[in-house]
Structure formats: C-alpha cells, structure tokens
C-alpha cells in the first residue's frame, strides 16, 4: 500500500516538475529560425520568393521551402543551411536565379529625377534622397539586392562589382 502511494506521489510530483520546467525554460521564438536567419546573406532580395531573409528562414523551418532557393548565399550558403537542418545539400534551384559575384547599386546622379521610388523599394534603407532632389546609394549599406532597378522610371541605377579589397599578400 505504502509502495503504491509512494509511487503515485512521486509520479505526480515529477509530472508537475516537468510541466513547470517547460514553462521556466521556454525559449521565445524558434531557435532553428534564428540559426537559419544567421547564415542567410541578409540581402533581403526576395529571389527565394519570400519577402526577406527571415520569412524564408521561417519557411525552411516549417518545411514549406527548400534549402536551395537563395542565390546570393550560393553553394556555401546551401551547405550551411543543410548542416543546420541535418539534410543533404542540393544544387541551387535555377528558378530562383544563379549565383553571381557581389554587386552594389550606383545611381547615375545626372540622370536622377528625384522620384523617391527606389528609396521606397530599398529593403535596407541604403538610398538617401528627397523628392525632386538627387538620390544616392550608401555603398557600405547596399546589399546588391537589385530591388531598386525595376522601379526606377529613368533607368539611372547601375549595378557595379563590389570594389576589390586591398590584397595584403601578392597572389
């Protein structure tokens, strides 16, 4: 009798403890999403068919999207995503685009009419300017997502390769 009672009390006690533990140690948000978001290139370009890197990370975590939809991340990025998800890496889906060298946007300032359309399109606030005043790209903040190209009514935005870093060692 005592043995049964003891087992019952122990069982109930531990159940309560486990229950509380899930509340005490609960994590806000999905840690997998954080990890996936951290390895994505944060270009916010939308080539993966999601409105930004975090929504894409959320979709991968839910199993809605494949890991091969991010062209700016390229092969290395797919490998990193595969490691986190514990799946085999797969080649980049050509429907999303191809891996290209890093670029930044450059506004040809003589042609700019100051319409602010590119400012509204830029996902990382990397374009400065005001209505009817010339706009310019803040180069270090530009991710080369190309989202400002299409809205420009006078086609005055060009993509140029990221300026080469100083080589410390002769190649």
């Amino acid at each position: 009798m005592i043995a049964i009672l003891f087992a019952l009390v122990l069982g109930l006690g531990l159940t309560w403890l486990l229950n509380q533990a899930t509340r005490w140690f609960a994590v806000d948000g999905d840690p997998i999403v954080e990890q996936l978001d951290a390895v994505l290139p944060q270009t916010q370009c939308g080539q993966c068919n999601y409105p930004g890197c975090r929504p894409y990370a959320e979709a991968i975590a839910k199993g809605e999207a494949g890991i091969n939809q991010c062209p700016p991340g390229g092969e290395a990025g797919i490998q990193a995503l595969a490691d986190i998800m514990g799946v085999e890496p797969e080649p980049l889906n050509p429907e999303n685009g191809t891996e290209t060298p890093a670029v930044v946007a450059l506004i040809i300032e003589e042609d700019c009419i100051g319409c602010t359309k590119c400012i509204q399109a830029c996902p990382v606030d990397a374009i400065m300017g005001a209505a009817k005043h010339m706009h310019t790209v803040i180069e270090p903040a530009c991710t080369g997502c190309e989202l400002c190209i299409a809205p420009c009514p006078v086609d005055c935005i060009e993509l140029i390769p990221v300026s080469k870093r100083v080589a410390l060692w002769p190649s």
């Binding site: 978001d37 994505l40 290139p41 944060q42 270009t43 916010q44 930004g52 890197c53 975090r54 996902p123 990382v124 606030d125 990397a126 270090p140 903040a141 991710t143 080469k164 870093r165 100083v166 080589a167 410390l168 060692w169 002769p170």
Partner: protein, 459 residues
C-alpha cells in the same frame, strides 16, 4: 649617459639565425642619385588615398600629393620637385601617381601644423618597422610606457642599426617627442646586444632606459619585445595600448624628429643586400622609387629574385611592379637558385617548439588545406605573427607562413561578410519596424479625424 641593462633570458621559441648583417654595415648610409621618376602608390594595406594633384601639375619638393580619409592611412609627399605625368593603374591593380622629376632650386615645402601630433599626421608618418599604421593615431592614445624598438632581429636587415650609428641624437630626440605626445612616464629603447656600435652611440645620450636583449629571431616582434622587456604577455588579439604600452620603430622616431622640424616623410634608409648585390649597403631611398630603377642603377641581372623585406618575413616581389614604400626596410636581391621542392607534412612537430606565439603550425597547416574555419579559429590562426620560423625549420619546405597569411586574409573576408550581413539584417528589421509604426500612426490619425467629424456632425 644612459646605462645599459643586459637581459640574459631570451624569448620562448624563435631561432638563433645567422644575421648576414656585417656585410651591409661596412660603409655608412649612402646617398642615392636623384631619380628621373617616382611612382607614389595610392593604395596600401591601411587604406586608400585620394590624389590632391592632377595630371600635368607642377609639384614642389615636399608638397602633399595625396591624403587618406581613413583612420589608419597616411598622406604622401613628393620627394623631389617634378611634374605629375599620369595617375594610372599598374598591372597589379595598384593605382599610382607617376611623377616625372626635374631639378629645382626651390626649397622643400615645410609642413604647416601647430601641434606635434598634427605635424606627425601631416608628415605622413607610419610605423616604419612594417605595420604601416598611422603613427599620429597610435600616439593619440595616452600610455604609461613607450618602447622604441631597435631590436632589428631579421637576418640581412640593418637599416635601423645604420641609422642609430649615424643619427642616434635625432632618434633619441624623436623618441622623447613621442614620449611627450603620449605622456608616457617610461621611455625604453630595446636593442639587440650584438649591435655594439649602435649601443655605444645611444649611450652618449640620456633620458631613457637602454635594455639589450639576446639576438634571437624574432625578438624584435612587437609582442615578443614587450614580453622580453616588461614580462607582459599580450593575449591573442590584444593591442599594446590595452596594457598601457606603445611600441614605435627607430626609423619612426627619426621621422618624428624630422616632422617636428617641418620636414615630411619622403625618404628612408633601405638595406640593399643579398648574393646578387656586389656591394651591399644602406641607402637613403626616396619613397616611391621603382625597384627596377634600383636594379638598373646597381647593374643587377634582370633574373635576380627580389624580396621586399628580410629573409624571413620579406615577400617575393616582381621588381617591375614594386616601389619603395614607407615600410620597405630591405631589398634582398639574390641570384636564382633551385628551391627545395615542397613535400607533404610528415607531422614531425619541429615547427611547434620554434613558434614564438606557442601555436601549432602543423595543425594549422592541415586546417588551411582545405580551409577549415572552425579548426583555424580553434588553433588561434589570428595570433600568428607570420615570422616564418616554422618555414625555416620545416624539413618538407612547406611555405607555412604564406599559407597562414592567405588563410588570415580569407578569414577576415569571411568575418567582414558576416558583419555586413548582420548590419543589413538590422537595417531591414529597423525598416520593417518603422513602416509598421508609420502605418499604425496613420491609422490612429484617420480614426481620430473620423471621431472628430462624427462629433461635429452629431452637434
């Protein structure tokens, strides 16, 4: 009269190397004939410069021709009067101001700046021992102890020793100016104990501590010298200023003295030595002198192998592209010999006891081939000072220091990309939050207006 204190303990690791120094010290510092052309590079590892002159412009000797907007870079000055021929890009993607020199009787342009630090900045002084970091920036942070690094430990290089033999008074004066600039209580000159003539020259002056260290390579490494002189071991990645220390090179101290008199940094002492050089010596070379002009003037065969720097840390250089820079302390020119073929690592471990930073070069070698980031970080790749002691003892002749240099660069590029991705992510979420807030504010405004309208119509 300074009193010499001699240390009897040497650094951990490192190598006792044959110095090959006496041959280039037989003669004093030689003057170099005025060249007909200099090429002043607009880019170095500490930042890109902006040219202040245009093509065809007449430039006076000592005139500032380019400035650096970054914090670590330095200004450039014309060593002689001349005309800017072109601003061009060399085949190695280096942009230069190509100047055609013409003799002029006009005096050298003097610097206009009120404080010592401003003069050092305007003179374009950088760490001339190799780092090339802007000295004005280094001396802008107050420290307790200032060390003058006269421990020129690398084989073949003798420019600092030659400078001390002939210009000890100027070097000491520059060191004291630097001491005033940083407000240091202690001024220590650390020198190797085999530089007897230089030590004698320094003993004639006072106002500093003179400490001689054993001539073991790399005692003159900044971190190594600090540990030898003060017993302070900097942790990996820690800068001397965090321990209240600053280290400057002998030639930098000399340049500071010049800058105080208003003279910009336009020339430096360079050791020209090696088996292909008939009479090795130290020369005053103008900054921007093309290396091929040096080879032509000295009549050296075109197939000679040129290293910019000493036998250990010097870099193999294409003489047709290289120019003398502010950190070029030595031109080591050797007749080509068949180099030992590289064989695979046999894990013998001889590289490990010689590493002055206590790293494991063999393990790091495996982590660079192929590049394995987590392994390299675990083995503290970034602490490698690229002294090439491991190369020197490697029985397989593996160019370890070069591999580590490349891997460090690759690691830095990756970290840089990560940092900018993180910044982009932050900017994106800040934008999302702002758009949301604006939409909410707009909605609230509309509702308030509607409510006000309703109130009015109800009346």
């Amino acid at each position: 009269m300074a009193v010499l204190k001699t240390l009897d303990h040497s650094l951990n690791g490192g190598l006792w190397l044959d110095g090959h120094k006496a041959i280039s010290l037989i003669q004093g510092i030689q003057n170099w004939p005025t060249p007909s052309q200099v090429m002043l590079p607009l880019l170095d590892k500490n930042g890109a410069r902006r040219a202040l002159v245009s093509v065809g412009e007449r430039v006076k000797a000592g005139q500032c021709v380019a400035i650096c907007d970054g914090i670590a870079g330095s200004a450039l000055h014309a060593p002689y009067a001349g005309t800017v021929r072109q601003i061009t890009t060399l085949p190695n993607a280096q942009m230069v101001i190509d100047m055609h020199l013409s003799p002029s009787s006009e005096p050298c342009t003097l610097l206009e700046a009120s404080t010592l630090l401003q003069r050092i900045d305007a003179a374009g002084i950088v760490g001339m021992g190799g780092a090339g970091f802007a000295t004005a920036r280094k001396l802008g942070q107050p420290v307790e102890t200032l060390i003058i690094n006269a421990a020129e430990c690398e084989p073949y290089i003798t420019c600092d020793e030659a400078l001390l033999r002939e210009y000890a008074a100027e070097v000491v004066e520059g060191a004291k100016l630097a001491q005033t600039a940083v407000g240091a209580k202690r001024l220590i000159i650390g020198i190797e104990n085999n530089k007897t003539e230089a030590i004698e020259a320094l003993k004639q002056h006072d106002g500093f501590e003179l400490i001689a260290v054993p001539p073991k390579y790399p005692s003159g490494g900044e971190r190594q010298l600090i540990e030898l002189l003060l017993g302070v071991r900097l942790s990996p990645g820690q800068r001397p200023v965090e321990q209240g220390l600053a280290v400057i090179n002998v030639h930098t101290a000399y340049a500071i003295n010049n800058a105080n008199d208003g003279r910009p940094l336009t020339q430096r002492v360079v050791t020209i030595t090696g088996s292909a050089v008939a009479t090795p010596a130290n020369y005053w070379l103008p900054i921007g002198l093309p290396v091929k002009v040096v080879l032509n003037t000295l009549g050296i065969a075109a197939n000679a192998r040129v290293r910019l720097g000493g036998a250990m840390m010097g870099r193999p250089t294409d003489p047709n592209l290289a120019v003398i820079g502010k950190t070029s302390n030595c031109l080591l020119i050797e007749t080509p010999v068949d180099s030992t073929p590289v064989s695979p690592c046999i894990r013998c471990g001889v590289c490990e006891p010689v590493c002055p930073e206590g790293l494991l070069p063999a393990q790091m070698h495996f982590a660079t081939q192929p590049f394995a980031r987590d392994m390299l970080e675990r083995y503290h790749l970034s602490a490698c000072i690229e002294c090439a002691c491991c190369d020197h003892v490697c029985p397989s002749a593996i160019p370890l220091a070069m591999q580590f240099g490349l891997a460090k660069q690759q690691l830095n590029t990756l970290k840089q990309a990560e940092r900018s991705a993180q910044r982009a992510g932050e900017r994106h979420s800040a934008r999302e939050a702002r758009l949301e807030r604006l939409a909410a504010e707009k909605k609230a405004r509309m509702e308030a207006k509607k409510a006000a309208l309703k109130k009015r119509t109800a009346k």
